[in-house]
Amino acid sequence: MRWSTVVAIVRRELRDILRDRRTLITSFVMPVLIYPLLTIGMGALTKSERDKVDAAEIPLMIREGGNPVASRPAVPEASTPSFLACLLLDSRVRIERPEFPDKALEDGKILGVINIPGDISARVERREQTIIDVRLYSAHPLSEEVRGVVNKALARYSSGLVPLSADVEDLSPPSHRGAAILGGMLGFILISLAVSAALMPAVDLVAGEKERGTLEALLISPASRVEIVIGKFLTVLIIGTASTAVSLGSLAVSMNSMLSSMKAAGKIEISVGPGAFATIFLALVLVTALFASLGLAVSAFARSFKEAQSWMAPLMFLVIPLGMMATPPTTMLSSFAWVPITNVALLVKDMMRDQAAAGDVLIVIGIMSALVFVALSFTVSLFQREDVIFREGGVPLFRRDPRRFAPPTPAAIIAVLACVVSTFSLASVLQGAHSATQLLVQQSTFFIAALVAWIATVGPLRGLVGRIPTRAQALGGVLAGLGSFLAVVQLHALRSLIFPGPATYEADLQKAVGPILELGAPVAVLLIAVMPSLCEEFLFRGLVQSAFGAGNRAVSGVLVSAGMFALIHFVPAQMLTAALLGIILGVLRLRTGGVMAGMLTHAVNNGMVAAVALGGSFLLPFAGEGAIPGLSATATRVVCLAGSAALFIAAERLTRARVAPSASDG
């Protein structure tokens, strides 16, 4: 073997791989970004869950010498504390006296029953073996806290030399313990199996066929695009479901053997009834269906099998954090029923211990079915686009802007940056000023910077505004504004997961715009709704998006302008929602060829915020807080998101460009 040949081959292959931007992104950039984000997200989630547990009450029944303790006894500070007093040092402990303690334990009305021997102090003094009898229900997410309370009390009461210990009896049935041990992890594993079972055949059925030249033969046949997509989708679904079923069987056998010793001892039992099994299977079929359609969409977009495979990694990166969110024992389905993937993992956990509420199950099935429908419709729309099916270069995920602006010079970009920096400085200089003054100065700076930078570096001002929208496009802008309000505020509710805090939407809103409201409704509407929609749209969608999105970089333009738009919102919790709104506005700018439809969207979105702030408390359920009368909070959220989706679909139809591209436009 000649090593020089081996080295030459390695060098060539490496050079080839390093020239492939997608491989670089999926192999290096994404892991560098995703794991810190995952750690931060999981850390924040764990902390948030821990905070909730630390703040939760621990209802206990405590018996002393066989007699139930009625309430917290007053303990004289100077006296030596009793074991009961040591227990009650934990302020979370609430004393309960249920008539049927075991039933109350099973129902979760109390978390534990603690029996303290009546002669405990005498026994301890005599250094006799003393046992504290504890009964709990380990399937309850907070049951571990009872052990913690007892162990801390033991540590406080004795120095360790006294033979004092706790005997814990778990009253939960073995099947519930099995569900508690396997928890969300089993759901996560099943989802991962369902996702990978769907993605691989999907890639082969479209990207593979494109590469082998068999897709074109099918497209030329009388079969319609819808028939082709549905045919391929069902094929992937059948294969994916069968593969998931086989994996499920294999996993069950392996786990059965792994947990056999615990099962023999009667400690745990994995038993899932036919109804629960059918529900879990249906949820997994929906996960398979969702990723079957996403896989088909991605591989329709890819030019080759290899490219499609490289697009699959981001899809997997999407699944991991959503699935992992279900693993902490305190994550409840009722709070996450509307979060896709996480809800399925939690559904598996709750179905295993027979605790899932029918309403939550329906929401999970409904949300997942709706997503499958949306993903499948998206796939059909991609198959109907000749620039996707016969894609030869570029990334035409968004329709190209028919009006090509002259790209601003670097001076424009510098001006934008200067504007943002000056806003930050102004914010610190004007820190003590009235919020209205701060807002006025900031918005005026945006407006002036956009105008100066454009005129100085590009030319005709009409280019900054772009094309005037048609009536339909303007109406689409208004509907998108309503849709954005509904979607963005739901995201605001979700942000508590990432930026934990006790603040509510109403409190956040009052803090942000309270002083402006005091100036009266007309001024508030002007400052909150009108000015930002004019000034920020000129700067971010007019100038920044044109500067960074010229030529074939339309997607970069949207992302950079949305990123800068998010940054100027200062408060981390607002950045997330601003980024989403920024993306919506950027896409509108692309679709309509101008900033005016986006201005309407921005004004309507902010106008709704102003309406809530100006006392429209009946609007709060639509702002992610509280519930519509007669509906649960989760159902309200689902209704809002569905409404938002419907508004966006209508806006998409209305803003669709009807004017053919023309070179003379530039």
Partner: protein
């Protein structure tokens, strides 16, 4: 005998939005008609717009302006019906490697809405006509280039369409198989089929084509019969003279 125009292309333009080059005009005002019982040769150098035009005929691309009708059906209004009247053999079309030739041809018969007995009869007929009996039940992945091309032909002929569009039908074949395929095409013309034949091989044009269109940079440079193009000489010479003349006229400095 009165000729019927099976394919009518009227003033078709096609503009692609290329991410790097901006708007690219692949076809500019292309018009022609193709008739029953005649073979229409579509000639042009690489990048002339032939594949785009054929894909528009096949309904996989839509024209930016202009219209195409096949067997009286306007392609843009009812593409599925237009596809039923046509068999399209693309130069890059692949075969399902793990399907047998019989399974593959039958599958496309099903897509055309044929019933089981009609498919069986038609597969047997095509197998005999194209000499496919020896490999009809072999997986396509194990067939030679010539055998594969016969399977492709059988696939596009399974529903016996009145219009055949053949793109580079003999490109990868040896001279014997190419001759077999050409004889088959001649037989189909004799049965009254309207055939559009795209090729780079001028010998095939001489042998097969009745009418000819020469396309260059998206425009039709010549439209007429083969004899009108050749003007008593060779088709290849006339073709090169036309294309070179057009290239010289459009090159920088030609106007001065």
């Amino acid at each position: 005998m009165s000729l019927r125009a099976f394919v009518e292309v009227q003033d078709v333009t096609k503009v692609f939005e290329d991410p790097k080059r901006g708007s690219v005009e692949a076809l500019r005002g292309v018009s022609f008609s193709c008739f029953s019982g005649r073979i229409f040769g579509l000639l042009g150098p690489n990048g002339a717009g032939k594949t785009t035009l054929l894909r528009i005929l096949a309904t996989t691309l839509s024209p930016t302006t202009g219209s195409v009708s096949i067997d009286g059906v306007v392609v843009s209004t009812d593409p599925a019906r237009a596809r039923r009247s046509m068999g399209f053999l693309s130069g890059v079309a692949g075969l399902y490697e793990r399907s047998t030739a019989r399974e593959l041809v039958s599958f496309f018969g099903e897509l055309h809405g044929m019933d089981r007995s009609a498919i069986t009869a038609r597969v047997d007929e095509l197998s005999r006509l194209l000499g496919m009996e020896s490999f009809l039940d072999m997986p396509c992945g194990k067939l030679s280039d010539g055998q594969r091309q016969k399977v492709r032909l059988a696939r596009v002929l399974v529903h016996d369409p009145p219009v055949l569009v053949l793109d580079e039908a003999t490109a990868t074949l040896d001279i014997l198989v190419a001759d077999e395929v050409m004889r088959f095409i001649e037989a189909e013309r004799a049965r009254g089929k309207c055939i559009i034949f795209s090729t780079h091989v001028m010998g095939e044009v001489e042998r097969l084509c009745d009418d000819v269109a020469v396309i260059h940079k998206g425009r039709v440079l010549f439209l007429g019969t083969k004899d009108e193009l050749a003007q008593g000489g060779r088709v290849a010479d006339a073709f090169m003279q036309l294309v070179r003349g057009a290239s010289d006229a459009s090159s920088p400095g030609a106007a001065s």
